[in-house]
């Protein structure tokens, strides 16, 4: 069967050029200064220094992380009950609900986010309903609320599906055993169901947190032109300001922060498991 091994070679070359080289280019640009042409590079930490000493950038970084954390928390709070309810249905009904949850994700994300701009306007549907009840118009557009709403709207299905999968894979006899041994429903849930579904919650958090930190179209569309997040800074460095070195450095910082948070999330998950085992 050795003759089939050769079939990997084209992709080896392709992935080196299209996947590995771009990553190396980001590294190269991040640690150099001297314009966008590859020919005149000078090694330096200036880009990182600029980011870490300029207060405006740190504020933006903090805001991006805060928005991403808040989005993730809301997704867990809404996603867990949704997944839990669906997982309790019969097999056929389950599949129908899963389909309903995933269906919107097939439609272009920009298209769906654009729809919110109409709904959230000062004279939009929500404010019309509010004014019908006598409540004053609330400005939703171009606020943190709008950005988090847009992100939750786009990423909630990922969370639901991850938790749902871990809930359906669970061994239900364990819950029955807990109940038989005298645990009340609440204890059953907190001591058996919740710990067993943790892997799903963790992978859901990963799937929501990662795109939230780096997103730039949702903050641009629902937060407005002056709403700055890490993603929008990177975008403007590359497409308007034209400082690729600085842009690369910011993306590198962002990638490292994401990696660290993934690592911590995994560690927390493992730590909890160990604790559970000891009890």
């Amino acid at each position: 069967m050795k003759q089939f091994r050769k079939m990997v070679y084209p992709y080896l070359i392709w992935s080196t050029v299209m996947i590995a080289v771009p990553m190396l280019l980001i590294l190269l640009y991040a640690f150099t200064v001297g314009g966008n042409s590859v020919s005149k590079f000078m090694f330096s930490f200036a880009n990182f220094k600029r980011f870490l000493t300029d207060k405006t950038f740190l504020v933006v970084l903090y805001r991006s992380l805060r928005i991403a954390v808040e989005t993730t928390v809301v997704c867990v709070l809404l996603g867990y009950p949704t997944a839990y309810i669906i997982a309790k249905f019969t097999e056929k009904v389950k599949m129908r609900w899963v389909l309903l949850i995933t269906l919107p994700t097939w439609i272009n994300m920009l298209v769906r986010t654009y729809a919110w701009t109409g709904i959230l306007q000062d004279d939009g549907v929500i404010n019309s309903i509010l004014s019908f009840f006598g409540a004053g118009p609330i400005t939703f557009m171009y606020t943190d609320f709008a950005v988090i709403l847009g992100m939750v709207y786009n990423f909630l299905p990922f969370m639901v599906i991850q938790i749902y999968t871990s809930l359906t894979k669970m061994d239900y006899s364990l819950i029955e055993a807990a109940c038989d041994l005298g645990a009340n429903p609440r204890k059953c849930f907190t001591k058996v169901t919740l710990p067993l579904s943790m892997p799903g919650v963790i992978s859901g958090i990963t799937l929501v947190f990662l795109p939230s930190v780096s997103s730039f179209c949702i903050p641009r569309m629902l937060g407005g032109g002056s709403y700055v997040m890490v993603g929008t800074i990177i975008e403007s460095q590359f497409l308007t300001a034209g400082d690729w070195n600085f842009g690369s450095a910011i993306s590198l910082i962002m990638a490292i922060i994401i990696m660290i948070s993934m690592y911590i999330t995994k560690k927390v998950d493992k730590g909890e498991k160990l604790e559970g085992a000891q009890v």
Binding site: Y11, M18, I19, W106, I107, Q121, S214, G247, S248
Partner: protein, 268 residues
Amino acid sequence: MKKKNRTGSYIFLGLIMIFLYAPIVYTIVFSFNEGKSLTKFSGFSLKWYGKMFANNTMMEALFYTIACALLATAISTLVGTVTAIGLSKSKKVLKNVVEQVNQLPIMNPEIVTAIGLLMLFSAAHIEKGFFTMVLAHIMFCIPYVILSVMPKLRTLNPNLAEAAMDLGATPVQALTKVIVPQCMPGIISGALIAFTMSFDDFVISYFVTGNGVSNISILVYTESRRVNPSINALSTLIVVIITVSLILVNVIPALAARKNRKTAGVAE
């Protein structure tokens, strides 16, 4: 008490559904709006559809999106399947290396992949446009195709291909007549993932195209800054296209299965 719980659950699910579907319904309703407003419905009209079909940029974007998705799907499905089959026969080290490299575009934030490609194309002096967009789409589609073909290959009996070759089949025949048909479900789902990934992509396309070439996502993004109800018409068109293709994808195999069962029954 159990009954009460159920009602609560249904209300909660109902609210989640309203949250997920209201914006889509809203877009569809306002695509038929007479006026230009995105917030006040002033009467039924099809004029935004007329404007959309008359709008060259929109029709071009639609064309580029579909053409790019078809090209990227075809090429990435072919290359991905070939690579997956090759990997299944390769040494573990090589397998691990390729799997790790494939994780990069999947795990990296899209914007990081996008700027990497932007700098690659500029370093190689390739002019940004349709060609670079297709290249980029192929790049991020292949890992998903490999991921969906690999599990199918693992369940395959390796002796079958060998038996075919012992019985006189050339390696190419063994490949096309034995291995590929057996992992067809994986190939098809890989192709589907590739198509939708490419069709919906915004971030990477936004960074790697230029010279007036844009896809639907880029168009919606740039047009969203001003009030343009034709975007609603375009969105409705996309919703219809996606829904119809999803129905086709789900219904055709079911129909085929039924037909097969029928013919099998007749043969018996």
